[in-house]
């Protein structure tokens, strides 16, 4: 055999590889042009805004840009004693500009996140500043409010100097970087987020469990019933999909409230006293019930699609070989449904962990989840960077769960249909 590999030529004498590339080039361009609109759409409406939102969680240039001179003057300040006159003068000039542009409110909000009490003293400064004389700004500013003479407020300003900050992530875990730069827990009465994270995990876990327990028999029935009945049952399973999420949640409110249908029924059959109706809404119970019902189809469908492929003769074989119905189920049927269980559980868990509308409506105070907190910061406090930090933490959590799942079960084993 000759060691040199001979280049294969086409009948026209062009190397085969080159000819192939040429022939496929046109197709490649066509294919790219076909996906181009969708690609652009995704970049414009998805990659860019989400990237921007995520960048906000660490972006801390707002204050830096509003107080350029102050930060320049602060470069030489060691942060131990009150800063020198030049810092006060620079701050006065920066702030004066902001007042003229009428954007000083934003600075107040931002600095207030850093340290409580900034808002009022900045407002006061804005009012008094009109009468300021030139020179000796340190004295004049300190006279506006005694907090201006407190070194901690100046340190708070300096802490906002870096353009990138992970303080929002710390806040999301109820941690804070104190003045000395070490990370500590926030005071006990302000630890709200960790409770929410744990509750979110707990709710997602139990909702997944309830869904699994209820969906398994339904899916089995769907897969084994004759076509006539299974179609009807399938419609019953899918019917909730065709109604709006809000309608479904609202109907749960009608059912579960204290004067609601379920409570009336309990009173009627004598299970509970009329004056002692249990609260089934605006707490975790309501969240569990409504979310389980809403997420049930996401468990039923993957299970059904897997069970449909399992031949009924396998169970028969198990029984004819001497296995009791339970052994035949446990050793033969159940292991074959694991891909469906994996897909269903992962789907429901991931959906549940980020669920928003239902807990917001029926959850009350003890039934709200981390997503409600994110929405709260998006809409009410307008602390978008904190909201997006928590969003990213949630996403990381989901990815971590996915990774663990992949290690344990293997994503290849998932079967969605």
């Amino acid at each position: 055999m000759s060691s040199e590999t001979q280049k294969i030529l086409t009948t026209d004498g062009i190397p085969l590889e080159e000819s192939l590339k040429k022939a496929e080039k046109k197709n490649k361009i066509k294919a790219f042009l076909l996906v181009c609109p969708l690609l652009l759409f995704l970049i414009i409406t998805y990659v860019f805004p989400i990237g921007d939102m995520l960048f906000r969680s660490v972006d801390d240039r707002m204050v830096t840009n509003m107080l350029p001179k102050t930060y320049k003057a602060m470069e030489n300040w060691d942060g131990k004693e009150l800063p020198e006159e030049e810092v006060f003068e620079a701050f006065y000039q920066d702030y004066k500009l902001l007042v003229e542009e009428k954007t000083f409110g934003k600075l107040a909000t931002q600095l207030n996140y850093e340290k409580n009490g900034f808002k009022s003293i900045l407002k006061k400064l804005q009012r008094k500043m009109k009468k300021f004389e030139e020179g000796n700004y340190k004295e004049q500013i300190m006279n506006v409010h005694k907090r201006w003479a407190n070194v901690e407020y100046w340190r708070a300003i300096k802490r906002r100097a870096p353009a990138i900050s992970y303080s929002k992530y710390l806040k999301g875990m109820d941690l804070i970087e104190d003045e000395s730069g070490s990370i500590t827990q926030v005071p006990e009465d302000r630890r709200v987020h960790r409770v929410l994270w744990l509750r979110t995990l707990e709710v997602a876990f139990f909702v997944t469990l309830f869904c699994f327990v209820m969906a398994y028999p339904i899916a089995h029935l769907l897969a084994t019933l004759p076509m006539k009945y299974s179609n009807l049952l399938m419609i019953c399973v899918l019917l909730p999909f065709w109604t709006s999420l809000l309608v479904r949640t609202a109907s749960w409110m009608i059912l579960l409230q204290q004067q609601g249908v379920v409570n009336d029924f309990f009173v009627w059959i004598g299970l509970v006293a009329d004056d002692n109706r249990p609260e089934m809404m605006y707490n975790k119970t309501g969240t569990y019930v409504a979310m389980t019902q809403i997420l049930l189809p996401f468990m039923v469908l993957p299970l059904y699609s897997v069970m449909k492929t399992i031949s009924p003769s396998l169970m028969r074989a198990g029984k004819s070989l001497g296995g009791t119905p339970f052994i035949a189920f446990w050793k033969v049927y159940f292991p074959l449904t694991i891909p469906g269980i994996g897909a269903g559980c992962l789907l429901v868990f991931i959906l549940a962990i980020g669920y928003y509308i239902t807990p917001a409506l029926v959850g009350g105070a003890s039934g709200t989840l981390i997503s409600n907190q994110i929405a709260f910061h998006m809409k009410s406090t307008l602390d978008w960077s904190f909201a997006s930090a928590m969003g990213l933490m949630l996403l990381t959590g989901v990815l971590a769960i996915y990774w663990v799942y992949n290690k344990l079960v293997g994503v290849d084993n998932i079967k969605l249909g």
């Binding site: 003769s313 074989a317 198990g318 004819s320 070989l321 001497g322 296995g323 050793k331 292991p335």
Partner: protein, 361 residues
């Protein structure tokens, strides 16, 4: 050791799924120990239902099934100790070959070393030693089939049921598996109840064949009896090839009768006709009719050749004879120079013993 003649006994068994149609009608069937019995019939004839009732997956609507003299209608399938080979093998896809075979032994709590010995023996019986760690998906159809047979036999059941086990295999493999299953049956002497719609399979493998049609056993006899001496026109039609003449009995004696057909008269063997004037169907196997009969055959007619089909070892000739234009003849391929040409008229003869006058269709 005397064998139990009624090892499996169906007694007056009826089965209906919807309360309107009887799928199995008044079935009485005795299967003796160690026998290879085949239930043969077209689809929908009730044969698989009978098998499922024996396995315990269906309950008889009426009547009783006995296994070794014990009624079994109230025994659940897993306590019957009946091995079963399913149509699509029903191997457990998530278990290796070894685990598949170990399943019936494990549920019986057999110690591992004893179980291993049995599995080894069963696998070598189907010549699959060394395949223990393969998954069923890695095996060919024939191999999966053998594993299924080994699994049905590994726990020494007294009866093994096979529900069209060779249906999914190609022709050559099917034939070699037929012999293999037959040899396994002969070597271990287990009672086998086999269901198929393939008559060739039934004839090759069985000790006795029960031909099912319309929920009833039409004939229960050995393969040769079934082929040579069908008792009614359904069996004659269903097993093997068959030339038929519809006619009316014009004269009848003890072992011969004259049947008037469209274009003449046939002398036939009265099987299910008793008196003059009865309508009948006369059935003649193609290989029993000869061209230019030399011996003195009591039937001798002239026929016109309509079609000649070359089959290698034999030639099929379609004739029009006595008003029947679908009369088939099988002519062996020999050096004898017969005058088989399209359009020729030839002499055809057969013995009246081979022309069976059966019930009218």
């Amino acid at each position: 050791m005397s064998k139990n003649k009624e090892f499996v006994k169906f007694e007056k068994v009826d089965k209906s799924y919807d309360g309107k149609v009887l799928v199995v009608k008044d079935l009485n069937l005795d299967i003796s120990e160690g026998e290879f019995i085949t239930m043969l019939g077209p689809s929908g004839s009730g044969k698989t239902t009978c098998l499922m009732m024996l396995a315990g997956f269906e309950t008889p609507t009426n009547g009783e099934i006995y296994l070794d003299k014990n009624p079994i209608s109230n025994i659940p399938p897993h306590k019957r100790g009946i091995g079963m080979v399913f149509q699509n093998y029903a191997l457990f896809p998530h278990m290796t070959v070894y685990e598949n075979l170990a399943f019936p032994l494990r549920v019986r709590k057999m110690p591992k070393d004893e179980a291993d010995k049995k599995i080894d023996k069963a696998l070598s019986m189907v010549s699959l030693s060394g395949f223990e760690n393969r998954m069923p998906g890695q095996l060919s159809g024939g191999q999966q089939q053998r594993v299924a047979v080994a699994r049905a036999l590994v726990f020494d059941p007294s009866v093994v049921l096979m529900d069209e086990p060779l249906g999914a295999l190609d022709k050559n493999l099917r034939e070699s598996m037929q012999y293999e299953i037959k040899h396994i049956h002969e070597s271990i002497g287990v009672t086998v109840v086999y269901v198929t719609h393939d008559q060739g399979e039934a004839l090759t493998m069985s000790n006795r064949i029960a031909v099912f049609n319309d929920g009833k056993v039409q004939q229960l006899s050995s393969p040769d009896q079934l082929y040579e001496k069908p008792v009614n026109s359904f069996v004659a039609e269903f097993i093997g090839e068959n030339n038929t003449f519809a006619g009316e009995v014009s004269n009848i004696s003890k072992d011969k009768c004259k049947v008037k057909v469209n274009g003449g008269e046939i002398i036939a063997n009265p099987i299910s006709v008793k008196s003059k004037g009865e309508k009948t169907t006369v059935s003649i196997r193609p290989e029993r009719a000869l061209i230019n009969p030399k011996e003195n055959m009591d039937n001798n007619h002239k026929g016109k050749i309509e079609e000649v089909i070359y089959h290698g070892d034999h030639t099929r000739v379609r004739l029009s004879l006595l008003g029947n234009s679908d009369f088939i003849l099988k002519v062996p391929n020999s050096s004898e120079n017969l005058d088989i040409k399209l359009g020729n008229t030839i002499n055809i003869g057969w013995n009246s013993q081979d022309a069976r006058a059966l019930d009218p269709k």
